[in-house]
């Protein structure tokens, strides 16, 4: 394989799209550090480049390899989460991180990819069989619930919910009957009070404060109040690059991670947000398009599910910073500072590209 062949096989359009979105994150991280590459922007670039190498590598490997590796990866993911309980680094009461000396890693992020992978493989392997409720619903739910419950116990409610909903989306795509969703939807609503009892106190208070955003604006609702001020004061055109007062004067909390979208809204206004939305839209649309074009079911279901999950995270993050859903700590994909999320997303996209590169390859059940 010579270099020209290599360059030819890399999906430049897609990679440039990813880098464009990521560079918005870099610009914002540069801005909030007070026009400085340190401490976030430079690290963010390094992480993107490392993740990019992983993405390209993964994308050039035959999809069959990933198909075969799906189950081992899933088990490896579960193993990583179990490790957090044993050796996890405790950050404000939650053990989500594994400290690898050089860097820390949040396994829940990558487990999201592995769960989709495992479910895609599962549905691929049973696709020709008849509708059997055990096969169609119960076993997939088992695959789903093991990591979700473990992550919920870390506790990382946000990621647990995202993975859970992603799993439900996979089930939806795989053709589980609509009436099953309606029934379980009603069942879910009924069992909400039970869900309430297993929540931690801080999680409950977040929900209560969400329902009462006008009060306690200096206390529990401080984050969201300041975030809304940042977004609102940005107006249509924004205050300009490096000109955000809410961010530069530190009024927005956790602005390099969960609340980076508020910084975008403040400095670049509604216009800047529309631009980011446009990039996200192309990305999502393109992934759905190439996934549907694939000849094998595994690639299709993985691509569409992964990008649905990607959308879900975007929605959750923006919904949170704009105050339409409660505060759950999920980062804005590709923009927020955080290596685990970037790497996981790039790995996911790498598998999607692998599926695209080998779209004519027919997978056989293993």
């Amino acid at each position: 394989m010579n270099i020209i062949n290599f360059l030819h096989r890399v999906n430049w359009f897609f990679i440039i799209l990813l880098l464009l979105i990521s560079s918005i994150g870099v610009a914002l991280l540069y801005s909030i550090a007070g026009a400085s590459w340190d401490p976030w922007a430079s690290n963010h670039i390094i992480r993107i480049l490392v993740s990019l190498v992983a993405l390209i590598t993964i994308s050039l490997v035959n999809i069959e390899f990933w198909y075969k590796l799906a189950n081992p990866l899933y088990l490896f993911g579960i193993f990583l989460i179990c490790l957090t309980f044993l050796f996890g680094k405790e950050v404000s009461g939650a053990k989500r991180w594994i400290d690898l000396y050089i860097f820390s890693f949040q396994p829940a992020e990558i487990v999201k990819v592995f769960v989709i992978l495992a479910l895609a493989k599962y549905f691929h392997s049973i696709k020709l069989q008849s509708y059997d409720i055990k096969q169609r619903i119960f076993f997939p739910l088992l695959i789903l619930f093991v990591p979700v419950i473990l992550i919920f116990k870390q506790p990382d409610l946000g990621t647990a919910i995202i993975i859970f909903l992603t799993g439900i989306i996979v089930l939806f795509l795989s053709g589980v009957q609509m009436k099953t969703f309606f029934l379980s939807g009603i069942g879910g609503l009924v069992s909400l009070p039970i869900f309430w009892t297993v929540l931690e106190d801080y999680q409950k208070s977040r929900i209560i404060n969400f329902l009462d955003q006008q009060s306690n604006t200096l206390g529990a609702n401080y984050h969201i109040t300041q975030s809304k001020i940042a977004l609102g004061s940005g107006g249509f055109f924004g205050k300009g690059f490096l000109q955000g007062t809410q961010s530069h004067l530190n009024f927005i909390p956790e602005m390099e991670t969960d609340f980076i979208f508020s910084v975008l809204g403040e400095e670049f206004g509604f216009l800047g947000i529309l631009f980011l939305f446009f990039l996200y839209f192309i990305l999502i649309f393109w992934v759905i398009k190439i996934s549907l074009e694939s000849k094998n079911y595994f690639s299709k279901i993985f691509g569409i599910s992964f990008i649905a999950s990607f959308f879900l995270v975007i929605f959750t993050n923006i919904g949170m910073v704009t105050g339409i859903i409660p505060v759950v700590g999920v980062p804005l994909p590709l923009c927020s500072y955080g290596g685990s999320a970037i790497l996981s997303n790039f790995i996911g996209f790498g598998i999607i590209l692998s599926g695209y590169n080998y779209r004519d390859f027919r997978l056989h059940n293993v």
């Binding site: 020709l128 509708y131 939806f172 401080y222 940042a230 977004l231 007062t245 959308f311 929605f315 923006i318």
Partner: protein, 613 residues
Amino acid sequence: MYKYPNIDKLLSRRTFLLGLGKGVLFSSIFFRLAYLQLFKSDQYKVLAEKNRISLRLITPLRGNILDRNDNILALNKNSYNVLIEGNKSRSEIEKTIQKISRIIYLNDTDINKIYNTFSTKKKSDLPIVIKKNLKWNELSSLNVNLINLPNVFIEKGIRREYPFENIAAHVIGYMSDPVKSDIKTNPILQMMKTDIGRSGIEQSYEKELRGFPGTKHLEVNAFGREIREMSKEESVSGNDIKLTIDIELQKYASSLLKDKLGSIVVIDVNNGEILALESAPNFDPNLFTKSISQEEWNELINNPMSPLVNKSISGEYSPGSTFKLIVLYSALINKVIKPNSTITCSSKINFGDRNFYCWCHKKKTGCWATRSNTRKVGPELAIAQSCDGFFYELSKKVGIENIVETARNFGLGSKSGLNLKGEKVGLVPNKSWKKKIYKQSWKIGETMITGVGQGYLTTTPIQLAVMTAIFANNGKKIFPTIFKGIEKTNTYSDEIFTTQTLNQSSFFSLIKTGMFSAVNKPFGTAYSSKINKPIFAGKTGTVQVRTISENERELGIIPNKDLPIEKRDHALFIGFAPYKNPKIAVSVVVEHGGSGSKVAAPIAQKIFKKALL
């Protein structure tokens, strides 16, 4: 059995449905953002500005207080205050206060004050004072730890200092934190990190002294750290206040009353300027600016000698024999006696159901001793010797209403007009007053008691000084003042204010001759205080604070030195000097000091020497 449809078609359909779902979710955030960024933008822009801009008041420099010779009696010193941004939640402030209390000492009063301010303040973005006037060690340990104390900052302020400490404390007054009622009337006080005047000049001239605060708008970050100054409006300093007080004389007066209770008032007889206004015991006004402790405060207000009370204007004392000048003057202008007529002093007068004794009763010396035992006493001798018998008879003849009218003309029974809080008016009793208060008619005996300056009658030391000054300057009305900046003195300088105009100057000179003799003739009551330079004239007063029983009179009156302090007589002296060309008048009151001639007159004499030589 469910027939499974074509799986790829199904996937496409489900993907489409999923896309619709995504569209719904997306439009919710889209419209939410449009609402925040397009419709509510102006509102949030205001909130963002409020977030980052902190309004700070610049405390104006308070005016200094000067004495007549431009000695500084009160001035500003730099102080350092620690404050916390006000636009934070209570729990956040509590947390920070806890941290601070581990670094510097905050007592419960301090902490309660912070929370009071926090819960009552209206303008939420103004910082709250945590502690004022930091000591050096507090300042340095706070500075080191400031990085761990979000929203806390240290600001330079001013602190009042009184270099003469106790001297003239009652005149100057003191300052302390504004309390709730102050803030109610003047909300800006809460935002200014300044004390307000609580007594004396500091209080009376609060407005002139305070000046107007400036403002500055600072850009602050979420931790309350100042990023830059955006705009600034300078404060306007308060005006200096120059007093008529001579601090050296005041200091001397203070030393004369050391370990005593009482008052010394020194007044310029020509323009009413107060040269000294001493009340003993006094206090150190610096205590209050150094954030006085509860114990120190309790000690001050519960002290039976009431050091915080300005006795010169608030002490109401029977004038005793000093009042005889008024009775005599009243008799002369009402033509009850002629300057050369005499009254026989019988040393004991039985009137009604009680006896009235002259001080000469049962004494070898006395009202008759010098004049070959005639017991015939004329006005000059009556004043010089303070003959009670003479004044019992005389006041009976003059009548209470005439005495009262004269007394009022000399300023008794009304405020002197000094602009100081807490001035009392004393009491000049007459028939209608008694009817009103006691529902009883006036008795002649009460006129006689009033005639020797006892009974219901009370006066303040400042009133006595003004009265003396009027005698000294032959009836020219004066308005006492302590404030040199306002030229309202002498407005009525040529007004001779008595109601009748016949022969008054001869009446005044007759009375002044009596006062001269009281000091300068061997038979005078204050002869032991006589000096040749300056020659002064005066009148002693010894005020009984207890009733002397008939039995005690028979056995011999217990001398003051054998009595417990609180039963001893008040010693009074009023006088003026130089005799020929009067410049200053003095009133001296020493509570429970003993006799006027032994205790009060020597003090007055020293004051005259100090002030005029």
